[in-house]
């Protein structure tokens, strides 16, 4: 723990260190030791080789995931700092969360399957996969709402304990991100529905699948945190740092 005045570092620092490693690796590929004042002529970099260069939208999604990741890492940092204070009373996890988790896994699998169908040019598979992925994601969201209702029916209100506040807040933020994903998924589905060929939506499907896997990963981490499984990990990290 971070004790009197230590910074709530663990999660966000680890996350930033990971990003710094990626950025450092990327920069190391960029010939930062070049001496541009001595070099004239055309230099062609890998971006132009065509196959090796991912489309801008994919890079954009990657950068966006880094931003979302840092958002959740900060929530987790705040959570792990706040939970060590005296008034923290962990709340019982509704069993429904396990069902929701399974549904979200299913949703992610469905989108991965859709992506593979899109690569096979299987339009029927794409439509089926998109609908299955969307429907299971919506089921997950409804499940989360039901979990909220169960908690508040049992007297665990938002403001009655910081553990509750964090639970509602973090699940809400995760849900909102999934809803944003559903907008993109809906647009892709509409395109296919209106008869766009698979080639036109292949990239969108792939991006949706990546985003879904990412949100699934975030959810698994959050679930570990909220159910207290990772308490030991948090404690070890804190001890290392204090």
């Amino acid at each position: 723990m971070v004790g009197a005045g230590g910074p709530p570092v663990s999660a966000i620092i680890l996350f930033m260190a990971g990003l710094a490693a990626i950025a450092g690796w990327w920069l190391s590929q960029q010939r930062l030791t070049a001496k541009p004042w001595l070099e004239q002529g055309v230099m062609v970099d890998l971006r132009e080789a065509g196959t090796a260069s991912p489309p801008a939208a994919k890079i954009g999604l990657g950068v966006f995931l880094a931003v979302v990741g840092s958002l959740f890492a900060l929530f987790i940092s705040a959570y792990s700092m706040r939970m060590t204070m005296a008034d923290w009373r962990a709340l019982p996890m509704p069993r429904l969360l396990w069902f929701n988790t399974a549904v979200l896994v299913l949703s992610s699998v469905a989108l991965q399957w859709t992506y593979m169908a899109a690569r096979r040019d299987d339009i029927g598979g794409v439509i089926f996969g998109l609908c299955a992925g969307g429907a299971s994601a919506i089921t997950f969201l409804i499940g989360q709402l039901l979990a909220w209702r169960q908690l508040s029916a049992a007297g665990y209100f938002l403001a009655s304990n910081p553990a509750n506040s964090f639970f509602y807040l973090i699940t809400a933020v995760h849900g909102l991100h999934l809803m944003g994903g559903l907008v993109a998924l809906g647009r892709t589905t509409a395109k296919v529905w209106l008869g766009a060929p698979v080639a036109q939506v292949r990239l969108s499907v792939e991006l949706c699948a990546i985003y879904w896997h990412f949100l699934l990963l975030v959810w698994l981490v959050l679930l570990g945190l909220l159910t207290g499984w990772t308490d030991n990990v948090v404690e070890i990290c804190s001890q290392l740092l204090s």
Binding site: G5, P7, W37, Q40, G41, V42, A159, P162, L169, S242
Partner: protein, 591 residues
């Protein structure tokens, strides 16, 4: 990245962007208002930022009137004074400087400097501006709400920020937090564009190490902002919940006006960590674009290649990385483990190294250069001097033992105004005088510009130099009226009055600048395509102002870095980036 040996380059045609990929406006509305053209968005961002900046300027006048002549202006009471400092700080840091450097300069310069037709996600880019405008309008609306804007100080520290006794406790703080959340969402949309355009939108031959330092500065600052703003987002959302739904993220058990509140056990320190995890990188989010702009201005107007380009790039990246591990130096007086204090003091002082490298390189670029004292150059020189000034007092404050007695005094105010107020604003002005001819096709008026420079530069020093002294005397910041004290002599009050007069004059000089912007738009001297003889790509557009799509039919090919000035044997004293080496044909084919 792979270098293809020069002899295999023959026959590679210029990379062309098919016209179908470019968005084409069909009506006046989509051309000038809901435009997806980065250049229009840049102008929209800049005008909005300058307009809200004028509000902040007027607020600073009101503050200075109160400080210089306490008791004279009955319409400024203690609550309003707090509201003025809060809004002044928040507007200047977030809504003016961040928006102007990244939304304004970033949008205009990135596509032009890297040789792209536009940002990679134009629609998202447009949304970014409109959400920013909404954030500004929400912010402004707090002036008209019952209770007025929040007076919590720009750091919005809980618990006081959301308790009664702090002005603007109702709508002020709620809308402030809402506005910040909107700003961050809007910025993220723009930021994705800037980063991905630099990564993916560069034209053929524009390797990372051939990019002008302006692009490096804006790029790195954007990456930092994308990662740092979520901390402010998290802090704002949680504070908003504490205020609206009485959760206890940050709020400890407390009694307010004799009434025990529902809050319990929260940690105000947690807010400070989150806030400064954003707040310190924010300093460099503002400084790095300024560093880049200054590097380019100095090189162009001294007709000399930038000294130590590689070191400049490494320093920008190094500063960006280091700025994430220094945040707690804003919290020395909040109480912390001495080892943490030691750690953060050390990292803070280490930042002085890459920063000093940059200053040395600027000076060495000037050394024996052909210095033209144009207005952009004057502002660039003023930036270097001011930044060194503010940086040196930063070394004082970075040390825990020096910081503790100076904390919350005017010394701190003087320090951060020098380093992240005056210095970046000098870079902004230098940049505007430099690139205005490209944006409008006309030069800004020279006489008005020189008047603006000298009054702003000398005036800023008249305001902030004496402020250091007041801080050393122990004069606290954020006090509406210092009253009778044993440690503040009468002469300090005279000094305060002097600074206030200087502030009024500097403010009026900005009105001259705004007048110049408008007047020159119609009456300014025709600039031509490249009035400064600059080598970087934005000056080589076929049309000035650049048309929609920036380049003609074909994208430019880049053969060299952006700093080929005074090359021996060259026909002119600069070689444009898209000029093929001697003996090459213009289409990039080897002879």
């Amino acid at each position: 990245m792979v270098d293809i040996p020069l002899d295999t380059v023959a026959g590679i045609p210029p990379a062309e962007v098919g016209e179908v990929e470019l968005y084409h406006p069909r009506s006046w509305w989509t051309r000038y208002v809901f435009s997806q053209d980065a250049k229009v968005i840049a102008v929209q961002y800049s005008i909005t930022a300058m307009a809200i900046g004028m509000v902040a300027l007027v607020l600073s006048w009101l503050m200075r009137l109160q400080l210089g002549f306490p008791g004279t202006f009955s319409f400024i009471d203690a609550n309003q004074y707090l509201q003025f400092i809060t809004m002044h700080g928040m507007i200047m840091v977030v809504y003016l400087l961040t928006a102007l450097f990244l939304g304004g300069f970033g949008n205009y310069l990135i596509p032009l400097m890297v040789g792209a037709r536009d940002m990679v996600f134009p629609y998202v880019n447009m949304l970014s501006y409109w959400i920013y405008l909404l954030a500004v309008l929400v912010l402004v609306s707090t002036f008209f709400m019952p209770g007025g804007p929040t007076g919590a100080g720009w750091t919005l520290y809980p618990p006081q920020a959301i308790l009664s006794g702090t002005p603007g406790q109702d709508w002020g703080i709620i809308l402030m937090l809402a506005s910040l959340i909107l700003f961050i969402i809007g910025f993220t949309m723009g930021g994705l564009n800037y980063v991905v355009t630099v990564l993916q939108g560069r034209t053929r031959g524009m390797t990372l190490m051939r990019m002008p330092l302006t692009v490096w500065g804006i790029f790195t600052a954007t990456v930092m902002a994308l990662l740092a703003f979520p901390a402010l987002f998290v802090a704002s959302v949680m504070l908003l919940l504490d205020r609206l739904l009485e959760t206890s993220f940050f709020m400890p058990t407390l009694v307010e006006m004799g009434e025990l509140k529902q809050y319990s056990g929260g940690s105000p320190i947690l807010f400070q960590h989150l806030f400064w995890f954003f707040g310190h990188p924010e300093v460099y989010i503002v400084a790095l674009p300024a560093f880049g702009i200054i590097s380019d201005l100095i090189s162009v107007h001294a007709r000399k290649n930038i000294f130590g380009y590689r070191m400049m790039v490494w320093a920008i990246v190094g500063i960006g990385a280091l700025s994430f591990v220094v945040w707690a130096h804003h919290m020395y007086v909040s109480g912390m483990n001495p080892y943490f204090g030691f750690f953060f003091a050390t990292t803070t002082l280490i930042i002085a190294i890459p920063t000093a490298i940059k200053v040395y390189n600027w000076v060495l670029t000037l050394w024996r250069g052909d210095i033209h004292l144009t207005i952009p150059m004057l502002f660039a020189l003023a930036f270097i001097i001011t930044f060194v000034n503010g940086g040196l007092t930063g070394l004082f404050l970075g040390n825990v033992v020096v910081d503790v007695p100076l904390s919350d005094t005017m010394f701190v105010v003087a320090h951060f105004h020098m380093v992240m107020g005056i210095a970046p604003i000098m870079a902004v002005f230098g940049g505007i005088y430099h690139w205005y001819p490209k944006v409008t096709g006309r030069m800004l008026n020279e006489a008005l510009g020189r008047f603006h420079f000298w009054v702003s530069f000398l005036g800023a020093y008249a305001i902030f130099f004496p402020m250091h002294y007041l801080g050393l005397l122990g004069m606290p910041r954020r006090y509406h009226d210092i009253g009778e004290t044993a440690f503040v002599p009468a002469s300090a009050h005279d000094l305060n009055a002097f600074m206030s007069v200087a502030a009024l004059i500097v403010g009026f000089a900005q009105l001259v600048f705004l007048f110049n912007l408008v007047w020159s738009l119609f009456k300014g001297k025709e600039a031509g395509g490249n009035p400064w003889g600059a080598a970087s790509l934005e000056w080589q557009t076929p049309e000035t102002p650049p048309a929609h799509g920036n380049w003609g039919k074909e994208l430019p090919i880049v053969y060299r870095w952006a700093y080929d000035y005074s090359v021996p044997g060259a026909p002119q004293d600069f070689v444009p980036q898209n000029e093929p080496p001697a003996g090459w044909s213009a289409r990039g084919a080897h002879p």
